[in-house]
């Protein structure tokens, strides 16, 4: 019986095969973007295990096929495999479109040599995930210092703002997950609200050349890309736990993604940080702890042709501000500067007391895209950000628990762009975006508003082209126009309004007069142009150059226009200026790159001339009934920045390598013929690296960090009367601290726990010799030393 059935089956099969087996399946394979033929693509018929490849015109032929459905896999180097089923009932001809460029489906960029880079002809550096993970217990500002020419301006060690080639705050656009961060970035003590745990890689672009991300970023653009989504059926993630001696705390972050070949994905990240008081080599930094909690959720659908992403990010930071930096009046400041130690030093404590900041930042983003054949990719994005900032000062009486600053900033943004990549040698990107922003300064603080209520409207359009001239030359051109309107409602003290001469200059702005205050309604419009042009050329495999020019304008931010009042914790009166005009930057840069088997070198030079450069400087003191306070005024001048950044690597053999990153910058106030305030000093970081793949992928690195004293600074010192001594003393707020040299050590090994799980253990020692030092660009340098030794142990699990 069994045999009989088998025979029957055999016959049946024979009949099927015997049906018709002389059909031809032929066709051609084209690039989806520009329709060009793809040469040497493989066509594999799975169910009959048969191969062929395309010829020079992208054509293929497969003969002697039987009727029925065939299952084909088309593949080509650098392409995503395409799977399709074809029903053969006759000779069949089919045109198959293949995604030729391997595309990071999420990254908003113009394609070129390096798929992860945003630009081809700008001074751009990419920080990879592995580097960023090392900083998971620190901040974005710390991580970016890996890039030569990037430094930071700090308030203590937890508020770290990046400086790119001497420029910071409003002059830097930080793009996270495609959204330009709007988190009251104008303030020096306002750290970027970025959760490094949800970041995959980071592009740092010096200068204003990434025009698609917005205008006004004359310092540079930092693009944080989310963790990559791999489109196959998979569940993967990683967790990082970090413990450290200084601050006696830990950080934890974790991410998990579920993906499907069809294109659907969902992912989530979470991060926690908990640190107590940090310490210098000699004393505790009382009230410098940090508590941070963040999470993000994302989901979407991605294919070559269309897709969407939705994401939500939440980040809450509670940051203690050094207790000794809270000063009452100028006498406290003088004491702070003259004393070698802070005036308040208490035993280690985890609690965060006043003065402190509590900032919550939320981002909601949705984008969708669709690819049009022989045209390109169209994208539409909407994002909403809510930034709530509380600053608590040490207050007394009934106001004890009230914040001194309570600002809520909401930003809606909508962007649409189309990237035309159908032509072989030239690509275009056109876009438009509109932003509406509203700031609310809560009057319940009982303190007159430092920043007023305002509405801000922005409209920007841009056009960018990227041309390939042969295989060795790229040419970029970009144009952008931004319209910006700020509409504020602000109270001035009548005495201040008159002291500033606004009653003569802006009499029409007053909408209401109260007993000692006037309510004004300043409405200012700004038209800003940006131009970017760049060319890159590879002479051969070793030598290449980039030349770049950027013209860019930045409107003044609300703090530069409207600041008015006593900044309590800093004990200084900060004054904006309604007459502040936009800044205009002309930046020229040149890059030389060399690469051989053992040596790689990147030398980046720039010259940036900024007219109407806006900066804040101490201009003297004002007497009040509570004593004297230093006054800091926003002013404008013409500035010239000139700098050189070097990054060099020497690989001796597979084990040993040397590396150096150095940068120097000269900032000059052309009008006053003196140095610019707050310019980074010369810095050089050298590292000796040893690695051995056989020893559990061991990497070790000994790092030497040398920061020279800033010898070029403006002298803004002034004399102040000290009532308790009855004397006039010099308030030395200008003299920079001395040169310092630190040694760091870093080491890690990787263990394979299972086929898909690896454990990376790293030990990191910062400031090995517990050297005491102060940094010119740390605003708390008047009061305390910087951090002492910090031993960090990190466990990273990839699964």
């Amino acid at each position: 019986m069994k045999d009989y059935l088998l025979i029957l089956c055999y016959c049946a099969l024979n009949i099927t095969f015997a049906q018709e087996c002389d059909y031809t399946f032929s066709g051609e394979i084209h690039d989806f973007h520009d329709g060009s033929p793809i040469v040497n693509a493989t066509i594999y018929i799975k169910n009959i295990d048969k191969y062929t490849t395309t010829d020079l015109s992208g054509k293929f032929v497969m003969e002697n096929l039987c009727s029925g459905e065939i299952n084909i896999v088309v593949s080509h180097v650098g392409c995503k495999d395409k799977i399709l089923n074809v029903n053969i009932q006759k000779n069949t001809y089919k045109t198959i479109n293949l995604e030729h460029h391997f595309e990071e489906l999420h990254v908003v960029e113009i394609k070129g040599n390096n798929p992860n880079k945003v630009t081809q002809t700008a001074q751009e550096t990419l920080l990879k995930a592995k580097t960023i993970e090392r900083y998971s217990s620190l901040s974005l500002g710390d991580a970016l210092k890996e890039v030569s020419g990037v430094s930071s301006i700090n308030t203590g060690n937890t508020i770290v703002k990046p400086i790119i080639n001497g420029l910071h705050s409003s002059r830097i656009a930080i793009i996270t997950n495609g959204v330009r961060l709007q988190d009251q970035e104008w303030g020096i003590e306002h750290a970027p609200n970025v959760d490094l745990g949800s970041v995959g890689d980071i592009s740092v672009i010096k200068g204003s050349n990434a025009l698609a991300y917005g205008g006004g970023a004359i310092g540079g653009v930092v693009v944080l890309n989310p963790l990559k989504i791999i489109l196959k059926d998979s569940l993967y993630g990683k967790s990082i736990v970090n413990g450290q001696s200084n601050g006696r705390g830990f950080s934890f972050n974790s991410s998990l993604a579920k993906t499907y070949t069809k294109g659907w994905y969902i992912n989530a990240t979470t991060s926690l940080k908990d640190f107590g008081d940090f310490k210098t080599p000699n004393y505790n930094l009382t009230n410098t702890g940090l508590n941070s909690m963040g999470f993000s959720l994302g989901a979407g659908y991605k294919t070559l042709e269309k897709g969407f992403n939705v994401s939500y990010n939440y980040l809450n930071n509670e940051i203690g501000i050094l207790r000794a930096s809270h000063i009452g009046n100028i006498e406290d400041l003088v004491n702070g500067i003259n004393d070698s130690q802070p005036n308040v030093i208490k035993p280690f404590n985890r609690d965060i007391n006043d003065p402190r900041q509590e900032v919550t930042h939320q981002v909601f983003m949705i984008d969708l895209y669709k690819r049009f054949k022989k045209l390109g990719r169209w994208e539409l994005q909407y994002d909403y950000q809510n930034n709530q900032r509380f600053e608590f000062d040490i207050r007394v009486g009934d106001d004890r628990d009230k914040p001194a600053l309570d600002l809520n900033l909401k930003t809606h943004n909508i962007t649409s762009s189309i990237k035309v990549d159908a032509f072989e040698n030239i690509k275009y990107n056109f876009g438009v975006n509109g932003t509406y922003q509203t700031n609310f300064a809560n009057p319940d603080t009982g303190v007159r508003r430092l920043i007023p209520d305002y509405d801000k409207f922005d409209l920007g359009v841009f056009a960018i082209s990227n041309m390939k001239l042969g295989n060795t030359t790229n040419l970029d051109l970009g144009l952008r126009y931004d319209f910006s309107r700020i509409d504020a409602k602000k109270f001035y003290l009548t005495s201040r309004w008159e002291e500033r001469n606004y009653d003569a200059l802006f009499p029409d702005l007053v909408i209401e007069s109260l007993s000692s205050q006037v309510l004004t309604n300043p409405v200012f419009d700004y038209h800003n142009m940006s131009v970017s042009a760049g060319i890159s050329h590879d002479f051969n495999k070793k030598h290449s150059v980039i030349f770049n020019y950027g013209f860019s304008q930045r409107p003044p931010n609300p703090s530069e226009l409207f600041s008015d009042g006593l900044h309590h914790s800093a004990a200084r009166i900060e004054l904006g200026d309604l007459q502040t005009d936009k800044e205009t930057s002309n930046r020229f840069s040149a890059t030389y790159k060399y690469k051989s088997d053992h040596v790689s070198l990147v030398l980046e030079g720039f010259y940036n001339q900024i007219n109407n450069f806006i900066y804040i400087v101490p201009t003297g003191t004002e007497q009040t009934i509570r004593g004297a306070f230093p006054v800091w005024n926003f002013q404008q001048t013409n500035a010239r920045l000139l700098g050189l950044d070097l990054s060099a690597n020497y690989t001796h053999n597979e084990h040993w390598a040397l590396n150096n990153k150095s940068s120097i910058i000269k900032g000059r106030d052309i009008k006053a013929k003196q140095a610019l305030i707050e310019m980074p000093s010369f810095k050089s970081v050298s590292a000796l690296k040893f690695s051995n793949k056989k020893w559990m992928l061991l990497n070790t690195e000994l790092q030497s960090e040398l920061v020279l004293r800033q010898n070029e600074y403006p002298d803004n010192n002034f004399e102040a009367f000290i009532p308790t001594t009855g004397e006039y003393v010099l308030v030395d707020i200008s003299t920079p601290p001395s040169t310092y040299h630190l040694l760091h050590f870093q080491s890690d090994i990787t263990l394979n726990l299972s086929k898909k799980t690896t454990l990376n253990v790293s030990l990191n020692v910062k400031n090995i010799f517990n050297t005491s030092y102060r940094e010119y660009l740390n605003r708390l340098r008047y009061f305390a030393d910087d951090l002492g030794r910090n031993v960090m142990l990190q466990l990273k699990l990839n699964y």
Binding site: Y301, K306, F308, G328, N329, I366, L368, L380, Q381, Y382, Y384, I394, R395, V396, G397, D398, D399, K410, H412, I414, Y436, T438, A441, P443, T445, G446, V447, R448, R449, P452, D453, D455, K489, F491, L493, T494, S495, R496, E499, L514, S515, S516, Q517, L519, G565, L566, I573, E622, Q623, T624, I625, R626, G627, F629, F721, P723, T724, G726
Partner: protein
Amino acid sequence: MKNLKNIYILPLLALFFMACSNDDDTPVPVIEEEVITTMTATLVPNGGGTTITLQTRDLDGKDGPNAPVLDISGNLAANTTYTGSIEILNETESPAEDITEEIEEKDEEHQFFFQATNSIATFTYSDQDGDGNPIGLSFTLTTGSAGTGTITITLKHEPNKTASGVKDGDITNAEGETDVSASFNVTVQ
């Protein structure tokens, strides 16, 4: 994708919210409370003579541009003991608010400090808070021999009255917040 179509509606909704969220409220002014504009120290010589007042007055408050106006009614007599008292006012309100009462109510939270240069005067407290620590609303000023110098009067809010020397009028360890600080150039003759 059929359900993808619905997604296209979301940005439109977003636009809709954008258009609606423009609230144009007029902000309310912040009238800072417990503002001190005026401090007057009245010095009455024991055994007769001219009463002297030292006054500082800053009508635009703690962050206004105008400097406080100092008024010294006359010269102090040499080698004389004065009975001193202090009045604190908020003159941004009408009628002026008497902050002195508030200080008396919360006397543990306040203390005045007196200092003089060139040894033109010495000071002693003549009042006490509930804890037996000085306040300084009442005090005694004793002048030395003739000369010129500066008398500085400081009001601290929430000083650490138990810190070393604070009870005796030494401001060095007082901490707290400075509510008033005024220096008067006086002549003793």
